[in-house]
Symmetry: C2
């Protein structure tokens, strides 16, 4: 799924507690959940999302006991899912969260009382 | 992961936009996201969550073009993740959502401004 295609997932959505997803919506949503369905990626996402601002990959890797290339692979999956973005500056790559996608997932799973918040 | 172990995931939580997850929290959270990281399961979850009340498996299967045993397998994964529960009555099994788990996931992914809602 390209980042452009995933744009349709932002700015939505009706919670699943209010309306069933059609097959296309379910396929798109499942792809984003898949990006978070790994302990390393979910922890990476939380480190980037809670950093307050952008965070250097050099400040991310010390949190993990896996190799740099492994971290890079997982960051790429998060980026392709539209959950984070990044920019290389000199030696290091800096990451920041794309809150629209998290908000979309959050509202998709919200209870009816919280819909639209 | 047993249903009992997953109980710790309810009644929480600090959004990942506010605090990074520790490895154990990330492992638990990723396991629940994995249950939703499949198009059939996410659609099943939305059908059960939006039914308003419990729903007979006989009203679920017509939405899908896959076999009954395949649907049963995916429903079992959702049940083991603590997202739905069920009861057999006579010929049919009836499913209902467990909203605490959806609320937990929703707040985990919520933006800081929506935290605690």
């Amino acid at each position: 799924m390209s980042k452009q295609e995933l744009q349709v997932l932002t700015g939505c959505c009706t919670p699943i507690s209010e309306a069933a997803l059609d097959p296309a919506q379910a396929a798109d949503g499942a792809a984003v959940f898949k990006a978070l369905a790994d302990p390393i990626r979910l922890r990476l996402m939380s480190i980037i999302a809670s950093a307050g601002d952008e965070i250097c990959v050099c400040d991310i890797t010390p949190h993990f006991e896996v190799s740099g290339p492994t971290i890079s692979h997982h960051l790429k999956v998060l980026r392709e899912a539209g959950l984070v973005d990044c920019e290389r500056r000199g030696t290091w790559v800096y990451y920041w969260p794309l809150p629209e996608r998290l908000t979309w997932l959050s509202s998709l799973l919200s209870a009816p009382a919280a819909a639209g918040l």
